[in-house]
């Protein structure tokens, strides 16, 4: 881990200056949580009493280091803000030499701030949320492991090191989804997430192989320099492979099926990994690989299409689900669809994708923590049809969740309004049919978002109390969560309210990201901006009104009504599991079964047949060995006579 700062090779694309000052200690950001995880896992039960605070401290320490680096970066000239920190020579293999190094630029530091800040808040929240779990220490070890892996992912200066973080977060995600692995369905959900992520990982591996074959290197500087002169076909291939990786990690169509089941993990995990940070790694990958995608318009178009499909897909699923966490998961999927859509639009959308990613990280994490607070109060129940009227009993949760709700639906002035509106406007930029199709999809999805999030909010916090008795058959007594849980919620709610304006005022965030992702020319949308904004707000209001009429003003049935064909399909995630099962799993099963049969019948058959033939012949010959001496003597006599006869006869 210890390394000295050294100059990375400057290239024509991005000049990375050597990191100095606080930035030369950037490795501490990864080392601290990694150390925390190691200590918590190795000391075992001995650290049960104080382990969770060590976890909080490790995550908080990473945040402090990150903050110092950001402060130093802000003080630098924008042209010097891309810094490289060489750590050590990692893989010297023949022509390929991979150095482990960090790339400290506004893009990676934005992620570091999001991961460590939200991560630390969720650590604090978990101290109270997991208080009664005997394995709380192990939980914090995994959380620290996740933070370390996520920081490796975003700070890596080569695709190989990024892949290490990529797999690390996948592992942490697997461990945490299956944290309560004594429940078989939870363990299965963890395995499902792991396996589907592997599909995406193959894409990243193939992309790296293609990069090495074409450019002879896998570090960002060399790849981006090579991408400038590479053929469009090669860049399209690499881009599509990277997109496959992004789809797996970010639960984008067609690899989206695992995210809903991933809600099996404890709620803080859903907030940190499956809402705010890990699932957005795909967006990071696409934005980070901007030079590749800029040279491959086809790949970009596919990114936009994938984003648009997932955007609508998630929204439709979210409208039908009754499980509060699954609605939030579908919403996450849908919001990442927005980010993907923006990232696929090219330079005009990169900054907006990251902006929405940051604001989404705040309000979605806040809402997940709110959902955790509701579950905490309602005996771990998740069925929204059995909630209702909770706003009166849980004022803080109601307020903070309300802030997140208004932020995500894009209520004017709150975070989501600024970031989402920019994406919708960017989607309307372009020529030909694209702006009309993608802009319309992005616009309509804003209305869908407003509907399903309002449905969730009203069903949970308003209307009549439809509470089911607790698992012990007692009456529910919802109560507000302890301060350790509410304080992180309040801080995230403040971010949900104010962050969007703070980052967009005077284009602060876009300018801040410019050294990392380049300057984007301003393009005019095909529709006037006030018209787009007006339509967005009108659709948002319509969505909220419809949800209010159906779920707040009128009675919500405790049992889910049968619903239309679409509703029933959406409740089953639009048959994503059935499709995966029919198209991939069953044929795979038949293939393996066929291979097993061929192996046992043909290969084993031949070997076993030979063995059986040999032993059968032996058994038959064995009968000659009667054990009677006289028969041996007779055979000898006959043999001698025959031999004599042959010898004499041959003599003639």
């Amino acid at each position: 881990m210890l390394g000295t700062p050294a100059l990375t090779v400057p290239t024509a694309v991005v000049d990375a200056t050597a990191a100095g000052g606080a930035a030369s200690y950037a490795w501490l950001m990864v080392a601290l949580p990694l150390l925390g995880a190691a200590v918590l896992l190795l000391t075992g039960r001995r650290s049960d009493r104080w382990g969770h605070w060590l976890g909080v401290l490790a995550s908080g320490g990473a945040f402090v280091v990150g903050l110092l680096v950001v402060l130093q970066m802000v003080g630098l000239d924008p042209a010097d803000r891309v810094m490289g920190l060489h750590l050590f020579t990692w893989l010297p293999v023949g022509e390929l030499t991979v150095d482990a190094g960090m790339r400290l630029d506004p893009l990676s530091m934005s992620f570091v701030m999001l991961v460590t800040f939200v991560g630390t808040l969720i650590h604090v929240y978990s101290v109270a949320y997991m208080e009664h779990d005997v394995d709380r220490r192990r939980f914090f070890a995994y959380l620290n492991l996740f933070v370390a892996a996520m920081l490796i992912l975003v700070l890596a200066d080569s695709y190989v090191l990024l892949f290490v973080g990529w797999e690390g977060v996948g592992l942490a995600s697997y461990l945490l989804i299956g944290f309560w692995n004594y429940r078989t369905d939870y363990a299965v959900a963890a395995k499902k997430a792991f396996v589907m992520n592997r599909v995406g990982d193959v894409g990243l591996l193939l992309a790296m192989m293609a990069m090495f074959a074409a450019f002879g290197a896998v570090d960002f500087d060399a790849v981006f320099a090579g991408a400038a002169g590479a053929s469009q076909g090669l860049l399209t291939a690499i881009g599509l492979l990277l997109l496959l990786a992004a789809c797996g990690k970010s639960a984008q169509f067609p690899l989206q099926a695992w995210l809903g089941d991933a809600m099996a993990g404890p709620t803080p995990v859903s907030a940190l990994i499956h809402a705010a940070t890990m699932v957005t790694a795909g967006v990071y990958l696409v934005v980070r690989s901007a030079p590749v995608f800029d040279g491959a318009p086809t790949a970009q178009l596919v990114v936009v299409i994938v984003g648009a499909i997932t955007l609508v897909f998630g929204a439709v699923v979210g409208m039908a689900k009754d499980d509060i966490k699954k609605v939030l998961a579908a919403s996450t999927m849908s919001q990442i669809g927005y980010m993907m859509l923006a990232a696929g639009l090219g330079p005009v959308g990169y900054a907006f994708a990251i902006l929405h990613l940051i604001t989404h990280g705040f309000f979605k994490a806040g809402m997940f923590l709110g959902a955790g607070s509701v579950m905490h109060a309602m005996d771990d129940q998740v069925d929204m049809r059995r909630f209702g009227g909770l706003g009166r009993h849980m004022k803080v949760t109601w307020l903070t969740f309300g802030a997140g709700w208004l932020a995500i639906i894009g209520f004017p002035g709150l975070s989501g309004f600024w970031s989402k509106d920019l994406i919708i406007e960017a989607a309307f930029v372009g020529e030909g049919w694209r702006p009309w199709v993608f802009g319309t999809v992005a616009l309509l999805a804003a209305g869908l978002t407003a509907f399903y999030m309002s449905r969730l909010f009203f069903m949970t916090f308003h209307g009549k109390e439809r509470w089911a008795p607790t698992s012990e058959g007692k009456k529910q007594h919802p109560h507000e969560a302890p301060a350790l849980m509410t304080v992180p919620m309040v801080i995230l709610a403040i971010g949900s309210v104010g962050l969007g304006f703070a980052l967009t005022a005077g284009d602060t965030f876009v300018t801040w990201l410019e050294p990392a992702i380049g300057h984007a020319e301003h393009h005019e949308p095909v529709l006037p901006i006030p018209a787009i904004m007006g339509a967005t707000i009108a659709l948002m209001a319509l969505g909220v009104f419809l949800a209010w009429r159906q779920y707040a003003a009128s009675t919500v049935p405790v049992e889910a009504p049968r619903g239309s064909v679409l509703t029933r399909a959406a409740r089953r995630d639009l048959y994503q599991d059935a499709v995966n099962e029919g198209v991939f799993m069953r044929p795979g099963q038949y293939l393996t079964r066929g291979l097993v049969y061929a192996d046992s019948a043909v290969v084993d058959g031949a070997v076993m047949g030979l063995a059986r033939g040999t032993s059968g012949t032996g058994g038959w010959i064995r009968r000659l060995q009667t054990g009677y001496i006289r028969s041996y003597a007779a055979i000898m006599l006959v043999g001698v006579v025959v031999a004599l006869a042959v010898v004499l006869a041959s003599r003639g």
Binding site: G627, I629, R630, A634, L637
Partner: protein, 99 residues
């Protein structure tokens, strides 16, 4: 007297010995059959020595007697020890190695 008669006698003795070995179960009798076969062979060796007018066959006959004496000693010793353990001199009972 023709030497052929000796050969015929030798053949008859050898056949009697072989039949005794093959048909009798008593191991002592079987050993005696073996002796008879050996001596039939001796007779033939001596006959041919006479036929050729040299002593080669007679030397062979002495060797055979020597070996036969040793064989009888070991053979009888085995028969006695088998009889002690299994109370039987039948060679058909000596089939422990089968199976």
């Amino acid at each position: 007297m023709s030497l052929v008669n000796y050969l015929v006698l030798s053949g008859i003795l050898f056949s009697i010995g072989a039949v005794a070995v093959l048909l009798r179960r008593n191991s002592i009798i079987a050993l005696m059959g073996v002796e008879l076969m050996l001596n039939a062979a001796n007779l033939m060796l001596i006959t041919f020595a006479r036929w050729h007018g040299n002593l080669h066959g007679e030397v062979f006959a002495f060797f055979v007697m020597l070996v036969a004496a040793a064989e009888v000693v070991i053979g009888l010793a085995i028969v006695v020890s088998i009889f002690r353990t299994r109370r039987s001199a039948s060679i058909d009972d000596v089939n422990l190695l089968k199976n």
